[in-house]
Amino acid sequence: MSERYLPGGRPPGPPEEGIWSYAITESDRVSAANGAPDLSWLIGVGGAQVRAITCSGLAVLVSDVSLAEFGETALREHLEDLEWLDEVARLHHNVVETAGRLFPLLPVRLATVYSGAAALCAALADHHDELLDALRRVGGRVEWGVKAYAAAEQAEATGGPAAGKPGSGLAYLQRRRDQLAAGREARAAAVSGARAVHAGLAGKAAAAVVRPPQSAQLSKVRLPMLLNAAYLLDASDGTSFTAAVAAEATAHPELRIELTGPWPPYSFAGGDDDGR
């Protein structure tokens, strides 16, 4: 438990609140005067209504959260609780995805909590032009995710005929050496296959990024993940892109390929400048 909230240690007065952010868009998109859609029915993390805060041409979709549950210390603990994370991530994504169907937006990373509107607008002011550029880049577009794993059949490759008498130590060693070599070759073929798939699909997209491989403990997939990529496509290109992924899967039996989407443009919001 956080040391700040031991019994008897609570500060007096009402619990403090912060502002949880979901997505950034152009302020025109949320302006009632411009016929913006009503989003007040959307409920965010912590149970409060979603609203928009406008900061010079940009607007951020936010909701009020209690810092007792969503402040820095509480967040650090909660982020280690998979059940809590599951629920909060889904609530967050539901807001991003619903709004993302209505107007172009940049998803904000989970757990971005501002102390107030002033802090939020100050942060946005520092990045105003980049954010507008990013909004133009994702406008009218959606993200598709492609994951490629080494196919299960590659996990154990058989070797060639053994030298020496069957059952001899020499036969065993040679068979083992052949197995290892075959395994390495199969793995190399899968790796280069994944690269070829990415190159092929990236050529069909407005933009593409390669993401770090996912945690095997979390995905529960034992196969090696060789590609975890995101592609930015025009919203109308879903059918043709799905067909392109199917063609790649057919052409690469050494891989198991999975397609997810359409997603709001999480991977193209400009948040990947931190070396990931």
């Binding site: 912060g18 059940e83 209505l102 971005t112 501002y114 990045h127 993401r211 995905s219």
Partner: protein, 73 residues
Amino acid sequence: MTDVDLRDPGLSEAGYPAERVSLVDLLDRVLAGGVVVTGEITLSIADVDLVVISLRALLTSVSALVEPQPEGD
């Protein structure tokens, strides 16, 4: 615009029940994706590593059954 009631979270745009997005794909995006707009007085857990979270979260759920171990960091 398709004829879909956006207030119903159970329907995809095709009108079929939306499949539940897998947690790993969701966390991959909301934790490692999205824009990070920081300021001096922003609280942000944006730099938490996904792999570290997943290990700790799994250890936490298992630890209810075994003796809790002190954390190494």
